[in-house]
Amino acid sequence: MNRYFFYFLFLLSTAVIYTGCANPFKDIDIRIDTNIFKYTAVVEVFSNTGAPISNATVTLRGKDADKIYNAEGKKEFIVSGGMLILALDPKVAPQAGNPVTFSVDITANDYLSVNIPITISVENLSTMVSATMINTKNLSQGLNIKTSTVTLGANGATTAPVVINTAPSNGVTETVSIALPAGTQFKDAEGNIVNAGALAVKTLVANTSSNDVQDLFPGGGLSLSQIKTASGATTSGNLLPAALTEVSMWAGNTSIKSFNQPIQITLQLDQNYFNPLTNATVKEGDQARSIAIAQTLVYGRFENAGMVVKESGKLALKLNTAHLTWFTAGAMVSSCTNDFKIQFNASWLSNNITHPVTYKVFSVANGAKDKQLATGKFTVTNGTQGNLNKLPSSAVFIFYYDVEGNELAAQNIANPCSIGSVQAVTLNTSPVAGNPKVTMQLYVRCPNNKNPVTLLPTFYLYYKDAGAPTTTFKLLGTVTKVYISTSLLSTSKPYDFKAVWGSYVKLASNKTVSVDNAATVGDGTNEIIGTIAGATNLEMLKEVCKENGY
């Protein structure tokens, strides 16, 4: 045998073996998970009319505002699909007793601006709050606006005393009276006297006897974390309003912020107001407080502490002020410094099934629930813990509701501040719990890519009965790693779905789910690209894929 033949054979076989193996890294695609946020806060923004709010301007303020980003890690905040998604810098973590706090201002044309205080505590990974924005051109029942015009003198001052009175209307029985003394001059935000010939005055009056007055309250809640007293000190407390008004003025196109001398505002009170300081219905001679609430900061300022008087046979409180904002009158109850800790027991929410549980905190009047002080939402599975903060140091009722508004549990707490231990909340089985456990797994395949995307951001999924008004969308849950399991859906009727991720909102209509649902979003055969504006969806998919390097 020729020795060279052997060498050749060996070389050939070795080369074939060595080069015959595939590149081990072929088609490997390692991605960095963009779900980098541990703590998030979602503000659900509702209009009093149910209409979606567009072109809203969002501004963050407060000590920790610089630590807040949107879901894409940017300092751009947009209300999309009725949601504002906020996330805490992952390098920052709230500490026990030192939560992350900031506030969100939302303004939009034809809407009264709102200021939402947000607290992210160490226990609440996902904070959900809601804000109702009032459309001044389409007021709902319980709100009343009066617009008046006052002629001013050559120096921009009132030439004689002026009194503006609102009248009961649109479900509002209380009235407000504004008295401008002669010689009152009007100042802009910089403190400059404005001389524009005529003054437009807009006075909004809210019915505070409603249980859900909190929804209308600037700040989204009746708990104020910083209230400046006359001495300059600060305190905090829960406000139980007997009257609520917002007064705004313009001279020409200039918004008026203050005056050269105090004006007097008379707030007619809810005549059936339960005074928690006397434990009786309000009466003449009671002590009451009026508070000015800044629209752009989460604080209030005591304007006046005075006696309830009778004006034209109605109980009222008078206050003198040299600036304009929201004003309220009523009693203040100090807030707890400790959180009220709860843990949910819900055997019907085992196996990681989640359910959005809404809580509402009410003050107590004559042993019954009175004004709604706070509301919030937890995504609950059996054993979920949560905190309710800044509850009042007085008796409260706390009610827990399922997604359909069915009451699941109630607590009657004499003083939340005196309870330090975790309180068990046993949730009765929700009527919607009879639905089967439905799992939904969504894959996304970018056009021109062979494999589905391995990592997708967390997004929020809403649902409503197919064809129902858009105002009835309810949160189904958070879709994490493109997977959600729920018992909120029936497999025998169609639903409309809305997905919100950052500034993206997508709708899918008239879908009936089965027990196990898996779908791939893409442009291939048997893949889905959406039932509404499919071409737009494809462009959006391409755009997002490109942004993310797919």
Partner: protein, 230 residues
């Protein structure tokens, strides 16, 4: 890596040319030796029953490391790859042309070998860490906080072997050179791929990697040894 193997191969072949000038061996002998090559380094012992038939028992240990920089989805990773193997190896050797009347010294030393190795250790690992911080919007995530991706490929311990060898190429009276060239047939590798921190969730790549490594079942052996005849 590939170039290194072919250089080694050329070296071994060159050595075999030198050794073919030696004479063939005697029957019934015992050799002890050391070896080195693609299986690492080890020791061996051989017993020849006759001029044509013998057995060899050996053990080897190998550890190879390599680093690389790879880019996935626009993010660069430092990749550290390691392979570790250790085996006990038994092979039978048959020298069909080792006759005294054979005129080719090369063919006299040519042995056909077959056997099996028990790999008490045969594992490849790869670990990737980002080389740079990650920018998400206005946020910068430190590379240390991104995490790492780790892959392993493990084989079952038993692997049959077949090959050719050149035996007893004398250097001195009792010292001789051996060359082994052959292939182990391995089981399909058991692959795992995991990530931590922000690289968790990449487990879908495990199936892809497993498919890519499906062909990695032939383990070539190129080995040079020195034997001492007792």
């Amino acid at each position: 890596m590939r170039n290194s193997i072919f250089l080694l191969l050329a070296f071994l072949l060159g050595m075999s040319f030198v050794s073919t000038a030696q004479t063939n061996s005697l029957s019934k002998r015992v050799d002890l030796g050391v070896h080195g090559g693609t299986q690492g380094f080890g020791i061996n012992g051989a017993y020849s029953f006759s001029n044509k038939l013998g057995v060899r028992l050996s053990t080897s240990l190998a550890s190879f490391a390599r680093s690389d920089v790879r880019t996935w989805s626009g993010n660069e990773y430092n990749l550290s790859m390691n392979s570790n193997s250790g085996n006990a190896f038994m092979q039978a050797e048959y020298r069909p042309f080792n006759d005294t009347d054979n005129q080719s010294p090369f063919l006299q030393k040519l042995a056909v070998t077959a056997g099996a190795a028990y790999f008490y250790k045969l594992k490849g690992t790869a670990s990737g860490v980002p080389t740079k911080d990650y920018q998400m919007g206005d946020l910068t995530i430190n590379k240390e906080d991104i995490g790492s991706i780790n892959a392993t490929a493990k084989y079952k311990p038993l692997a049959p072997y077949a090959g050719l060898a050149l035996r007893q190429m004398k250097i001195q009276s009792k010292l001789s050179l051996n060359i082994d060239m052959g292939i182990h047939y391995l089981s399909a590798p058991e692959v795992t791929l995991t990530g931590d921190k922000l690289l968790s969730g990449n487990e879908a790549n495990q199936t892809i990697l497993e498919n890519n490594l499906k062909g990695y079942r032939w383990l070539p052996v190129l080995q040079l040894g020195l034997s001492y005849h007792l």
